[in-house]
Homo-oligomer: 156 residues x 2
């Protein structure tokens, strides 16, 4: 059975969560997950860091598909525009690499993990560990990125 | 006297205005201006088009510095986030090329062109033509990009 390698990305302007899983039929396997710390560097430098990190990471990981959380109904224009910059850079890095990109709503992501659209972050993280059969304690951005990748695996 | 080549960019999710001028002391010279039409292509494809256009254009034009309009006080989160994606991609393309980047507020840009912060788009375009000593009729995105480049030339 074909093994599909899925990259999930949870972009942000201070941290970017990322996680790679492998799907073989109904089996899911953790490959890697972490977050990129962008911190308080000048904004342009943070964007460049996302770009250069992903260029290298995609080469190293060779995923087949990438999944992002869709951005819907952002409340605050100032936060939305910063997030937009970071997300645009991450999307282009993946698209330049030739990856098919998929988007899921936050509710889709939570539902595919917990069958419950309003789960707490900690519950999502716990379910991600169970579904991948691991004990890892990641930063929240990393488990969110894995949740997005798992959502895509369920929907494929 | 040193000649400095300045790229002005007015990013958007449907059109991206761009313009290149040369500054030699107090003299300004038009090099090129136009807009990239992104139209109704899928959003990811539009972002990729910005990236690949700029990669080629920067190679061809070899600017020394790049100027963007800063994004302040966007009203609508949905529009802001789309603009953010496009702007993030354009910023990273310029930063990857090694260009020093500068940002100016819309009011700065208008004031440096017309000494009047609330000028109409058509007045800005007319002043851009006068300052560059040309008769060209550009799309509004292109003259806005030239106005940003001229603002930077004035502030250097």
């Amino acid at each position: 059975m074909a093994v599909i390698r899925i990259l999930g990305i949870d972009p942000g302007s201070r941290y970017m969560g990322y996680g790679v899983i492998e799907q073989e039929g109904s089996r899911l396997k953790l490959v890697d997950a972490n977050r990129l710390v962008l911190g308080n560097a000048p904004f342009t430098e943070r964007l460049l860091r996302i770009d250069s990190f992903l260029n290298e990471y995609l080469q190293q990981m060779q995923p087949d598909e990438a999944a992002f959380e869709g951005i819907f109904h952002q409340k605050y224009a100032d936060a939305a525009i910063k997030l937009g910059h970071a997300r645009g850079v991450a999307i282009v890095a993946c698209a330049r690499f030739g990856l098919p990109l998929f988007e899921y709503s936050p509710t889709d992501v939570k539902q595919s993990i917990t069958s419950f659209g309003h789960a707490e972050k900690a519950q999502v993280a716990q379910m991600v560990r169970i579904l991948l059969g691991v004990q890892n304690a990641w930063p929240v951005d990393a488990s969110d990125a894995l949740a997005i990748a798992i959502c895509h695996a369920n929907r494929r």
